[in-house]
């Protein structure tokens, strides 16, 4: 056959292509499989970059993001995990595992000579049916605030139980729920600042009502201010450049240099005077504040904080209710921020600035303490997952039980559908139900339990109407999820179900893989 493609390009067709796609996807699923569930294990990732930095994590998205993958089908799975992370925050492992299981079942069907398109048709019917089954069994406690809060607590604890924070999950669940409820329905998690300070134990972490800025107070300035009026600014506080294009200083004598310098100083002094004229006692700037203006501020008894990062500024503006100012000519109409007390506090070794007693309680700070950087990083990721899930749940208040309960509910509905469906599609629907049941099986396996025994017990329980049974991994038995308080957010489960099926479908439809020759890079060794 004539060669059509470029030299290094590889073309795989038909069965071989399908096998390559299946195997790649399943390998990825198997890779993250062991991290699933409360007794899932962690992975160590070592980067190839300089420093060979090490990450220890249990988070599916983080693991997959750091892998360099060559198999194109595997890339599809990495992508869905990333999207899951961006969209709902949690379930990044589950979505990959479910997609992997769906493909594993599909492989068996393909070997039975069932056409992939038939499998896809079956999967589509099954996913619709599974989603409806879940929708029917959701609980919504939007009306009852106390109950909703306990729902949130349960969800947070369930999410955290599979992470490093599981020892103190109640404590952290409380933290996360408090933080999210402060957001009042917005999903902008940037308003929640997570500060990591090594030292102490995880239990020493706390939620701060106010705002903590990781900065030091300038020398000679007050260390504590009560009833602070804060001006949040984004302006240059070094020598103010002339912005008119092409302007430059050209002088012919030393005297003139001095004159211009004096004028510059005068300009800065005026600017500072204007800022002081706002009647403030605290000034926070995003850019640097040079020594000269800092001295002026200190003279006026104003606390000046320089070089706060952009997000810090935005958050501070949000917390204190001030606006971010860049010009200072109209002091009467600039909104200033307010807070009761600004003081310097010590956490561990470091000095931080603490704003407390703020008007708007939207933002808050969580300070994480822990033995090492790795622990803190992982704790931050876990907490981030919990916060994401909670903030999504606040918007979509439907809640499900956890512990494999949703999977079993879906599997039961899908099984019923399979029995009613004539034709080859029913095999695919059956396979879908098996893939769903694989998730609780893996969770049980990871915990070292007798999965076959537990799943069969669970299935028998689910044969009864309105059953609330699930696997309790801690005690290693089938139990009532309602009593144990294990809940999950409906939105997360739905996203897992839909995107896993979508990804499986995409990979199934492929019958040819063409890999282009890699682009040559000059600096290749």
């Amino acid at each position: 056959m004539e060669r059509v493609l470029k030299d290094d390009a590889v073309e795989e067709k038909g069965e071989r292509a399908r096998m390559a796609a299946f195997i790649g996807a399943m390998a990825i699923a198997d890779l993250v499989k062991t991290t699933l569930g409360p007794k899932g294990m962690d992975k160590i990732l070592q980067s190839t970059g300089r420093g060979r930095s090490v990450t220890v994590t249990n988070d599916g998205a983080t693991i997959l993001k750091s892998l360099h993958i060559d198999n194109p089908a595997a890339k599809v799975l990495v992508d869905i995990s990333k999207v899951q992370d961006d969209e709902v925050g949690d379930g990044t492992t589950s979505v990959v595992v479910l997609a992997g299981e769906l493909l594993r079942e599909a492989e068996k069907l393909v070997n039975m000579k069932i056409h992939p398109m038939t499998i896809i048709a079956g999967y589509r019917m099954a996913v619709e049916c599974a989603r409806n089954a879940l929708l029917e069994r959701t609980m919504d406690n939007k009306e009852n605030i106390d109950k909703f809060r306990s729902d949130l607590m349960n969800i947070a604890m369930t999410t955290l139980s599979s992470k490093i924070l599981s020892q103190d999950k109640e404590y952290f669940a409380e933290l996360a729920v408090d933080a999210v409820l402060r957001l009042k329905g917005s999903t902008n998690l940037e308003a929640i600042q997570i500060l990591k300070k090594p030292g102490g134990s995880l239990k020493d972490s706390f939620l701060d009502e106010g705002f903590i800025l990781d900065k030091k107070i300038g020398l000679g300035q007050p260390k504590r201010i009560e009833n602070a009026k804060i001006l949040v600014a984004n302006t240059a506080m070094d020598t103010d450049k002339v912005k008119i294009y092409g302007a430059r200083v050209r002088v012919d004598s030393m005297a003139k240099v001095a004159e211009i310098e004096a004028a510059e100083k005068q300009k800065m002094r005026e600017k500072v005077q204007k800022i002081i004229g706002h009647g403030i006692n605290c000034f926070v700037n995003r850019q640097l504040i040079y020594n000269f203006p800092e001295e002026l501020f200190a003279d006026a008894g104003i606390l000046a904080i320089e070089h706060a990062d952009f997000e810090g500024i935005e958050r501070l503006a949000l917390v204190t209710g001030g606006e971010i100012a860049s010009t200072f000519d109209n002091p009467e109409s600039v909104k200033l921020g307010h807070c009761k007390v600004i003081e310097e506090i010590m956490i561990g070794e470091d000095k931080l600035i603490h704003f407390s007693g703020v008007d708007m309680g939207q933002a808050c700070t969580i300070v994480l303490r822990g033995a090492s950087e790795h622990v803190l990083d992982e704790a931050e990721r876990s907490l981030h997952d919990a916060l994401c899930v909670l903030s999504q749940t606040v918007n979509d208040t439907r809640v499900l039980f956890g512990g494999g309960w949703p999977e079993m509910v879906m599997a039961k509905a899908v099984d019923d559908l399979a029995r009613k469906t004539p034709g080859k599609k029913s095999h695919a629907i059956d396979a879908f139900s098996r893939a769903l049941q694989a998730i609780p099986t893996i969770i049980a396996d990871n915990a070292g339990l007798d999965s076959a025994e537990l799943i069969s017990q669970l299935r028998a329980e689910h044969h009864k109407e309105n059953c609330t049974a699930g696997i309790d991994v801690i005690t290693g038995s089938v139990g009532d999820m309602q009593k144990r308080g294990i809940s999950e957010a409906f939105k997360v489960k739905q996203a897992i179900l839909l995107s896993a099926t979508e990804a499986a479908e995409m990979i199934l439809r492929v019958d040819e893989i063409i890999t282009c020759a890699p682009r040559r890079r000059e600096d290749r060794m």
């Binding site: 056959m1 004539e2 059509v4 493609l5 470029k6 030299d7 390009a9 073309e11 292509a17 060559d70 599809v76 992508d79 869905i80 999207v83 992370d85 961006d86 969209e87 709902v88 925050g89 056409h115 992939p116 398109m117 589509r124 999903t187 902008n188 984004n234 002339v242 912005k243 008119i244 294009y245 092409g246 430059r248 200083v249 050209r250 002088v251 004159e259 211009i260 935005e314 503006a317 606006e323 971010i324 100012a325 860049s326 010009t327 000519d329 903030s391 839909l498 995107s499 979508e502 990804a503 479908e505 995409m506 990979i507 439809r509 492929v510 040819e512 063409i514 282009c516 020759a517 682009r519």
Partner: protein
């Protein structure tokens, strides 16, 4: 390579570095070219039809594309062979002209080449084959016109349009919600269509995608969506009855194009410059405010000071908006793009009923919706989907559907799909062949056989027995003289495509036949290939 020698035994050198070049001549060249063309067609063959499979392509940079669209597959395949490149061009020109049927055209060209090879083996001259094909394609072209139907639609009765778009979408991965997408595509096209002139400017339809959510959440927005947010975090997120100033000048001090220097040598000059600068910012913002704008959309960046002044004067602003988007906003809101602050005037402002910022997911992803515009002639289709590849594929599929809807507005003739048009043409060409004396008769017959390739591939991809199905349908067409019989890909139970509501546009089909014939003629006429040999 054969060389000619002069009387002293020295070779004549005709081509530069002749000895390094490989050369194929005569029948060998034609055979090699045909083989290459067939190889390309073979790759696409399995993607045809509602049960066609997808291809997974990995680009040189490692990005993965999964697609069913012929033009995209060929474009990303990075082919090396010259003839294969011609096939890629073929599919691309079908894409530019019609937008749909990019796979079909390549499959047809491949099968024409296959038939030509057989004729070549019988010793028929390639030019005669080419002429025969040309004659046959004209017959098929006219026959298509003959069996086509006009069908009526209007702004209120969009059902026929939706049905046709659904046929296009049914072969793509998005066929799960083809009904919704088809409706979106038709509504979008009708919104921007000029029914009087029968023209549609597809540039007015912006297709924007964002990962997350599900395919069913895809929506049609009568307005513009910009992937930007307000320049200052504290500006209002929702503006009603917005008057929009659309600027292409930055909120920065002017930069004259001629070279210049401003020398500061005295304190006075330093101070006047400073005042000048402040006045400058102030004036810019004041100008916008004076003409009554309530929203500023700018192509360039803002200086920090200007940004705060805008915020301060309660004038929300968006910066770094791309040129294309800026134009769309101008069209949608009926505003004028203003290149200088001095030229701002109230009548140049665009108007929109509602401008709002919407955030997505858990990350800081925000988009700006400009809705209820003065002129609803620009629309946006906003796609959601589980992953990036899904979004990309949906974009491509929707593009096909949009093109189909546009073609129908230009020319409302349709033929029936499912291979029925090809079978009918094949029958007509076969019958016409006998009327031509000479060698061309063979070529015309071969053309008729080649037309069968599309229904054959359709049947094969659907898991039907190809020859049985094709012959059954063909005899049905001839017996009942019903040109609507096609391949029943979805196992509905009837072969009548009219009942199944499977339509394709007439111009799309005609273009397919013409383009495929043209390329095949071109390939057949090549009898000498000179290649720089491998080094």
């Amino acid at each position: 390579m054969a060389l000619a020698f002069d009387e002293f035994g020295r070779p004549f050198i005709i081509l530069r570095e002749q000895e390094k070049k490989s050369r194929l001549r005569g029948l060998d060249a034609q055979k090699a070219n045909i083989a290459a063309g067939k190889a390309v067609a073979r790759i696409l063959r399995t993607s045809l039809g509602p049960k066609g499979m997808d291809k997974m392509l990995q680009s040189p940079d490692g990005d993965v594309t999964i697609t069913n669209d012929g033009a995209t597959i060929l474009e990303q395949m990075d082919v090396d062979n010259q003839i294969a490149k011609l096939m890629v061009e073929l599919s691309r020109s079908q894409d530019y002209e019609i937008g749909d049927g990019t796979t079909g055209v390549v499959v047809m060209a491949g099968s024409l080449l296959e038939q030509a090879e057989k004729l070549l083996e019988r010793g028929i001259h390639p030019i005669r084959i080419a002429e025969g094909y040309e004659l046959a394609s004209r017959i098929a072209f006219e026959h298509l016109e003959h069996i086509s139907h006009k069908f009526e639609f209007s702004a209120t009765n969009i059902e026929p349009l939706v049905q046709t778009c659904m046929t296009t979408l049914s072969s793509k991965i998005v066929n799960r919600c083809k009904r919704t997408l088809a409706e979106i595509a038709v509504k979008a096209v009708l919104a921007v269509a000029d029914l009087e002139r029968k023209d549609v400017n597809l540039d007015l339809i912006k297709v924007e995608g964002k990962v997350g959510g599900k395919l069913e959440d895809t929506e049609l927005v009568y307005g513009i969506i910009v992937d930007k947010d307000m320049s200052h975090p504290q500006m209002p997120k929702r503006i009603e009855d917005a008057k929009i100033a659309i600027l292409t000048c930055p909120f920065e001090p002017p930069k004259p194009k001629t070279k210049h220097k401003v020398d500061i040598d005295t304190v006075e000059k330093f101070q006047t410059l400073r005042e000048q600068e402040q006045k400058y910012f102030d004036e810019m913002v004041q100008k916008c405010k004076d003409v009554g704008a309530t929203l500023v959309i700018c192509q360039w960046g803002f200086d920090d000071e200007a940004n705060h002044l805008l915020m301060h004067r309660n004038l929300p602003a968006v910066r770094w908006v791309g040129g294309v988007e800026l134009e769309l906003i101008a069209i949608a809101t009926g505003g004028r793009i203003v290149p200088r602050f001095q030229e701002l005037s109230p009548e140049k402002l665009g108007k929109a009923g509602l401008v709002r910022e919407k955030s997505f997911g858990t990350t800081k992803d925000r988009m700006l919706y400009i809705e209820k515009c003065a002129n609803s002639r620009a629309v946006t289709i906003f796609i959601r989907g589980g992953n990036k590849m899904m979004i990309e594929e949906t974009k491509r599929s929707l593009h096909d559907a949009l093109c189909v809807a546009r073609n129908l507005i230009r020319n409302n003739s349709i033929v029936y799909g499912g291979g029925s048009a090809e079978i009918s043409c094949s029958v007509a060409v076969e019958a016409a062949a006998d009327r031509y004396p000479g060698v061309e008769q063979y070529a015309i017959r071969s053309f008729a056989d080649a037309l069968d390739a599309v229904p054959l591939a359709l049947a094969e991809n659907s898991g039907l027995s190809p020859i049985d199905t094709l012959t059954a349908v063909k005899s049905e067409q001839v017996k009942e003289s019903n040109p609507h019989c096609g391949i029943d890909c979805n196992d509905v139970g009837t072969n009548d495509m009219k009942e199944q509501n499977v339509f394709e546009t007439l111009i799309g089909k005609q273009q397919q036949i013409l383009l495929a014939t043209q390329v095949v003629k071109m390939i057949l006429k090549i009898d000498d290939v000179i290649l720089p040999s491998d080094y």
